[in-house]
Every structure is written in structure tokens, then in C-alpha cells.
């Protein structure tokens, strides 16, 4: 099935002894000059590339406290060495978080610290050579910026910050990753990562309306570019067509329908995911984020709600207000932005949604906490809401739910191994190997608790899992969207299809 060895699922998850250089060959395709230039990066490697790269490093050190402090303060305690799913899955020592940071740190030390300038051997400082640059390209594209290491570091050192800086430094000397940078091009020209134009979106949504009506007998709308709507929904573009994403989109629409909400999507801002974060560029990330602000203003909405997407929720929750705020033109009664799970959860709390849980009885579910939702964001007003709210939704819609082992969920969750710009076919090996810890945890609950399906709230997680899960002996359809479960069980007012339960309909008709 693969031209590399797929790790074996054992009884427990072992921390491997390191094997030098086993993943050195893994590197994604580089972006063509035209795509680099479109993002404002040089198209060709400058002759004095070392100097340019070092200047960029200084620029970033003076603009990001995290970068400067984290380059200085690592004590090499080793606490993070066994925490990265890519190390666990590959045994390549450069996939240990501290070693990944060191690829950049040893150059920082060489050029910018006393010890590194005068005693390089003593402190492991090295010159910036072509070999070092190759290592950067290779190993900074084996980090999904999942922040698991940052939870366990005594100083909170976040390797994601270092990876982002490294990618920005490489972009500054023309070396960009094809996958991320070409996608960003599509966002700026067309409006979403998949390059779906307005016409195609409209057709897709119309098709969905027909499909849902056929299924349920209820005219659930999927509005696009509707001026004057109250809510702007920004879904990840995968939600428009791919399985199981699209079932999630159907779930959102049904929830809005039941709430009687006036909502719309935007063809101009039809992408929740913001790849600007993956390449570490504030400017690019801001440019993409401003599209959402513009769409909200143009459509005259009062609220912004994001669909199920992990890294997207980070940019939305933690950065959007900074990048594209202030949002004083929106309804101040709601946080900006909100997550679709917060919205649905709120309706559940208010008893506004009715579920027929038995619709999901053919499944026993578990929930994968997406890395960036878990460790970089929140839902609701209490810390940890990002764990409780999605679970509460699943439990409201399903009878059978089991958590995976405690050290693999919540803040300790293992990344799907496809985040942060890794979700590309040219990185298949690292994607498959990095998924090992999550697959191991899934196997545990499959065997012990009869779990049949794993729900997720991230477009990347869903795409990644449906692709890599077969390597571990599971099947694609075992991955579901959280709002797909909602969609299955939600009792629609006036439904005639299999969801019909008209005697229970009263009490569901109140409108916002």
C-alpha cells in the first residue's frame, strides 16, 4: 500500500529509541517563483541568502517576543523529547521538539550570542550552510504547529512559534512550500483554498437544498451572498463537497433552520482556514482575515460564526480581532467570532433543539480533540469549554459515547498529523507515521469499548484521517463530523422523511 513502512499498532504506545536521519528525505515540493512573488516573497534564491535570512531572523526577533525568548531560554531538560507525534511515529531525533527548535537555535547562537560567536563547539552553534537550510526545509515541514510540546515545557516554549518563524525566514529567501503558498494564491484570487468560484458554490448549495428536501421534506436553505442576513457563516471550503465535511455543513444548516435564524455564507470569504498562519506571515494572514471583515460589512451581517475547522478556529478565536478588528459594527451581545459548536450548544441549553438520538444508535462514538482548538482557543466563557462543548453536543445527539484514554485527549490530545500545512500528498509518509499515537488510542477504545466512529471538528483532521486511517486497518467512513451527528438526529419541524416524528414537533417552532 505504501512505499514506506507503516508503524505497527501494538498494545501500548512505545517511545522509540532514536534513529538518526530516517526522515531527512521527507520534504514537500517547493513553490514556483510566480506563487512566491504573488505573496511578496522573492522568486529566486538571492546570492547573499545567508545574510538575508539572518536579517529576517533579527527582524522577527525584534517583532515577536515569543521567538526571542524561546531561542534563549531552553535548558535542554528533555521534557518535550517524547511529546511530539512525529517523533513517536518516526523515531527521527530531529522530530523531537527541542531538536527541531535547535535547528534554528544553533544558527541564532552562532551569529547573535557571545558564546556561539567565540565558542561555537561548546554550545553547539553552527554556520548557516546549505545543509542547515535543507534540514530546516525538511524538518520545519514535519511540524504541524500543534503545540503539544508547549503544554509540557516548563517554560511553555512553543515549537510552533519557531516553525512559523523558520518558514517565514525561508520564504524571505524564496524557499516556500508549494502546498501552502499556492493555496494562499487561490484565496486571494478566488476566495477559498479550493479555488471554488461563486458559480460553483451556488450550484453546490442548490444541490444540497434539493438533497435535504428530498430526504426530509423540509426546505432547509443554504443561502449564499444574502445581503441583510443576520449571521455570516464562514465554513472551511472542504465543507462544500467532501465527505464527511459536507454532512457537517448540512448539520449547520439544519440547526440554523430550526433556530429560525437568518444566515448566509459569502462567496468572497468562503474559507475559514487561514494558511497565512502556517507560513508564519502576519501580513499574509491579515490579508486573508480582512476578507472576512469585508464580507461581513458588505453583507451587513450582525454576527460571524465559524464552521468546524481547527487551525481556522485558532486564527478566528485568537487572532481575528487583532488582525481585522475592531468589530464594533456587529451585535455586541455575541462574542466575535463564534464557533458553530457554541451556537448549537447554546440552543441545546435553551432546549430549542429536539433530537432523536436513536438515529445515531448504529454508532459508538469517540471524539478527537483537534490540536489547535484544544491548545490555542476556547469555546464558551470557561477555560476548557473547547473540550466540554463539542462533547455535550455529541452526547445530546448520540446515545453511545466513549472518550479515548485521558493522556490522548483534552490538552494532551495528539494532532491528526495533517495540520499546519502538512496535508499534502507529497508528505504522505510523515502524515501516516505521525498519526500513530491517535490511531493507537482509537484502537484501544475500539477494542475495549467497541467504538466504531471518531468525530472531529476540523476540516484538516477529517481529510487527514479519512486518508491515513486505512493504513492502520480502519475504514474511511469511521470519521464523522460533529454536526453530521447533529444532522442525523435533529428533529426538523414538519419533517416527512425518516427523521419524521411529528407528534414531538410542538415546542420547536419558537423563533429567535
Amino acid at each position: 500500500m505504501a512505499d514506506f513502512e507503516v508503524p505497527e499498532l501494538k498494545e501500548t504506545l512505545d517511545i522509540p529509541k532514536y534513529v538518526d536521519g530516517v526522515m531527512a528525505h521527507s520534504a514537500p515540493y517547493t513553490a514556483k517563483a510566480e506563487f512566491q512573488e504573488a505573496l511578496g516573497f522573492p522568486g529566486e534564491l538571492p546570492e547573499n541568502w545567508q545574510q538575508v535570512a539572518l536579517e529576517k531572523m533579527t527582524d522577527l526577533r525584534t517583532r515577536y517576543r515569543s521567538f526571542q525568548v524561546y531561542l534563549d531560554i531552553c535548558v535542554k531538560c528533555g521534557a518535550c523529547t517524547d511529546k511530539c507525534h512525529y517523533y513517536i511515529g518516526t523515531a527521527d531525533p530531529k522530530n523531537m521538539p527541542v531538536a527541531r527548535q535547535d535547528l534554528l537555535r544553533k544558527v541564532y547562537r552562532r551569529y547573535f550570542t557571545f558564546a556561539g560567536k567565540y565558542f561555537p563547539k561548546l554550545v553547539g552553534a553552527v554556520d548557516l550552510t546549505k545543509e542547515v537550510l535543507d534540514d530546516w526545509y525538511s524538518y520545519y515541514h514535519q511540524c504541524s504547529q500543534c503545540r503539544r510540546c508547549s503544554v509540557y515545557c516548563p517554560y511553555g516554549i512553543d515549537t510552533a512559534e519557531i516553525s512559523m518563524a523558520a518558514r517565514e525566514i525561508m520564504d524571505s529567501i524564496s524557499i516556500g512550500q508549494k502546498y501552502c503558498n499556492e493555496i494562499l494564491g487561490k484565496v486571494f484570487v478566488i476566495g477559498n483554498n479550493l479555488g471554488l468560484p461563486q458559480r460553483a458554490l451556488a450550484d453546490t448549495l442548490e444541490g444540497l437544498e434539493e438533497e435535504v428536501e428530498e430526504d426530509t421534506g423540509v426546505a432547509v436553505k443554504f443561502p449564499l451572498d444574502q445581503k441583510g442576513a443576520e449571521i455570516l457563516l464562514v465554513p472551511p471550503s472542504a465543507d462544500f463537497f467532501a465527505e464527511p465535511h459536507v454532512d457537517g455543513l448540512i448539520g449547520y444548516a439544519k440547526v440554523f433552520h430550526e433556530a429560525g435564524a437568518s444566515w448566509t455564507m459569502s462567496s468572497y470569504a468562503s474559507e475559514a482556514g487561514n494558511f497565512g498562519m502556517f507560513i508564519g506571515s502576519y501580513e499574509v494572514m491579515q490579508k486573508a482575515a480582512l476578507r472576512i471583515r469585508k464580507a461581513a460589512i458588505d453583507l451587513g451581517v450582525k454576527r460571524i460564526i465559524f464552521g468546524e475547522c481547527g487551525h481556522a478556529w485558532r486564527v478566528a478565536y485568537a487572532f481575528l480581532n487583532t488582525l481585522a478588528g475592531p468589530f464594533d459594527f456587529l451585535d455586541p451581545r455575541y462574542p466575535v467570532p463564534q464557533h458553530i459548536c457554541e451556537y448549537t450548544y447554546d440552543l441545546i441549553q435553551k432546549n430549542r433543539l429536539k433530537f432523536n438520538k436513536s438515529e445515531n444508535d448504529h454508532m459508538t462514538l469517540t471524539f478527537h480533540d483537534s490540536c489547535n482548538v484544544a491548545r490555542a482557543t476556547r469555546m464558551g466563557d470557561k477555560p476548557g469549554g473547547q473540550f466540554d462543548i463539542p462533547r455535550a453536543i455529541i452526547k445530546a445527539a448520540c446515545n453511545n459515547y466513549v472518550d479515548m484514554p485521558a493522556d490522548t485527549i483534552g490538552e494532551a490530545t495528539f494532532c491528526c498529523a495533517g495540520g499546519g500545512g502538512i496535508l499534502t500528498d507529497d508528505l504522505m509518509e510523515i502524515r501516516v507515521k505521525g498519526a500513530l499515537p491517535r490511531m493507537q488510542a482509537l484502537k484501544t477504545v475500539s477494542v475495549e469499548d467497541g467504538v466504531t466512529h471518531m468525530a472531529a471538528i476540523c476540516a484538516i483532521c477529517k481529510s487527514q484521517f479519512t486518508k491515513v486511517i486505512p493504513y492502520y486497518g480502519f475504514t474511511m467512513d469511521q470519521i464523522v463530523s460533529v454536526h453530521q451527528l447533529v444532522s442525523n438526529a435533529l428533529v426538523l419541524t414538519g419533517a416527512t422523511g425518516e427523521n419524521d416524528s411529528s407528534e414531538n414537533d410542538e415546542g420547536n417552532t419558537e423563533k429567535e
Partner: protein, 249 residues
């Protein structure tokens, strides 16, 4: 005064200047570097009080390290608490313990004495891990081993003066009081004492140019010290505000 006393006096002035000047420089650098984005590792406190508690538990209990690795935690915590007790104990060489604000100095003395042993045990544990655990060995540079050896040597030379070959601590106190009041006094020529003090001065000098910067640095770690309130309060770095102003033009 002997040439020896003079050299040690100069050494300590120099070490002190590097330590204070270097730390001042680094702290100012950290202070002045903006944090353009909210990057608290969540779940994170949503109030300032919450953040103070989070930081306190990191600094006093090493709580993240505890979650992470019990061996590193036990050795590391043992070493740091011992070091704290020992430093407090050494105040008796610098302060006038007849004054009321220093009432606690005599009280820590008995703890300080045994702390030398726990410090050595903690450091040896860390050194053993560095050598024995393959992953930790991989990430270690010569300086990482030397740092541990330096600390072990400081602790053992100090402990030996206490338990094996006593030194004239009254003169030592006079020497350091003299340095502080510019009323120079001779330093006893004990080899153990000279080694101990030489190593301590070395530690002071490398402090601001090494990984020991983790001590001030942890206070500046945005993943730990930020309040989780990006939706409630707009966070904007000065350079980002400039960028925005430029665009608005």
C-alpha cells in the same frame, strides 16, 4: 593586601557587573519586544488573577514539568529548592543580621546546611539522565554537561568547607562587606574557598549569556503569561498598529 585578595575583589566586581548589566540588558530586550498575537497555551486563565496563579504554580511547583516527566521534575525541583535555601543561607555573608528585617537569616541556616546534599543529589540525577537517556543525550551540547558539573562543584566545594575543612567565615564576611562598602579587607587564602568563590564568579558571568536566562525568561513567556481574552479585548502590538495606520492611508 595580598595580590590574591585584590584579584578576587576585582573578579567579583567584574562578575557582579556582568551579571547585573547582562540581566538588565536581556530583561529590557524581552520587555521591549512586542507580542503581536495572543498565543496563550489553552486552557488558560481568563483573568489577571488567574494568570498570576498560573505563573506562580509554574515557578514554585514547576507544574508543567510535573505533568511532563516525573524524574526531571523531582531532580529539577529538588535542585532548585535547595539552591534557593542555600542562596538564602548565604545572606549571612552580606547582611547585618542584627537588623530586624534580616531576622529570617539565622532561621534558614539549618535548612541551608542540608540543602547542599539535596542539591548535589538533584544535579547528579539530572546529569545521569543527560548521559543515560538517549534522547536527552542527543540534545545535549558540551556546555549542558559543563553547566551541571559547575553547579555540582560549587555545591560540593561549599559543603566541604562546612563539613570537612572549615574556613574562617568571619574573614570571608569581612571581605564581602568590604567589597560592598569599599572598605577592602583581605580574603583568607584557603584553596577550597578560592575554588568555591572562583566557580561562583564564573557562574555569575555566564548567567546572562547562557540558558540560565530561563530564570528571567519564564516571566516573559507569552504562552504562560497571557490572559485568554482575545475576543473580549483587542490586542494590538505597536508595529501592527503602524501597519494598520499605513494601510488606512
Amino acid at each position: 593586601m595580598s595580590a590574591l585578595s585584590v584579584s578576587y575583589a576585582i573578579l567579583f566586581y567584574f562578575a557582579f557587573a556582568i551579571l547585573v548589566g547582562g540581566l538588565f540588558h536581556k530583561i529590557r530586550q524581552y520587555w521591549r519586544t512586542p507580542t503581536p498575537l495572543k498565543i496563550a497555551t489553552t486552557p488558560a486563565p481568563v483573568t489577571q488573577t488567574g494568570v498570576i496563579l498560573r505563573m506562580a504554580s509554574e515557578i514554585v511547583l514547576f507544574s508543567s514539568l510535573f505533568k511532563s516527566n516525573k524524574w526531571i521534575w523531582i531532580f529539577g525541583w529538588m535542585f532548585h529548592v535547595s539552591l534557593l535555601l542555600i542562596v538564602l543561607r548565604h545572606f549571612r555573608y552580606f547582611v547585618d543580621n542584627t537588623s530586624i528585617i534580616w531576622f529570617w537569616v539565622p532561621l534558614v541556616q539549618p535548612f541551608g546546611v542540608y540543602a547542599a546534599f539535596t542539591m548535589i543529589i538533584g544535579l547528579t540525577g539530572l546529569l545521569a539522565r543527560r548521559i543515560l537517556v538517549d534522547r536527552v543525550r542527543y540534545i545535549s551540547s558540551p556546555s549542558d554537561y559543563l553547566m551541571l558539573l559547575l553547579l555540582i562543584s560549587i555545591a560540593s566545594s561549599g559543603a566541604m568547607m562546612k563539613f570537612v575543612s572549615h574556613t574562617d567565615i568571619v574573614s570571608v564576611k569581612a571581605f564581602f562587606s568590604g567589597l560592598m562598602t569599599f572598605n577592602f579587607q583581605p580574603l583568607p587564602g584557603d584553596p577550597l574557598l578560592l575554588i568555591h568563590l572562583g566557580l561562583v564568579a564564573t557562574l555569575m558571568i555566564i548567567f546572562p549569556i547562557s540558558k540560565l536566562l530561563h530564570a528571567p525568561g519564564i516571566f516573559f513567556s507569552p504562552t504562560r503569561n497571557q490572559i485568554d481574552n482575545p475576543r473580549e479585548k483587542r490586542h494590538l502590538a505597536p508595529w501592527a498598529a503602524e501597519l494598520e495606520a499605513e494601510k488606512a492611508k
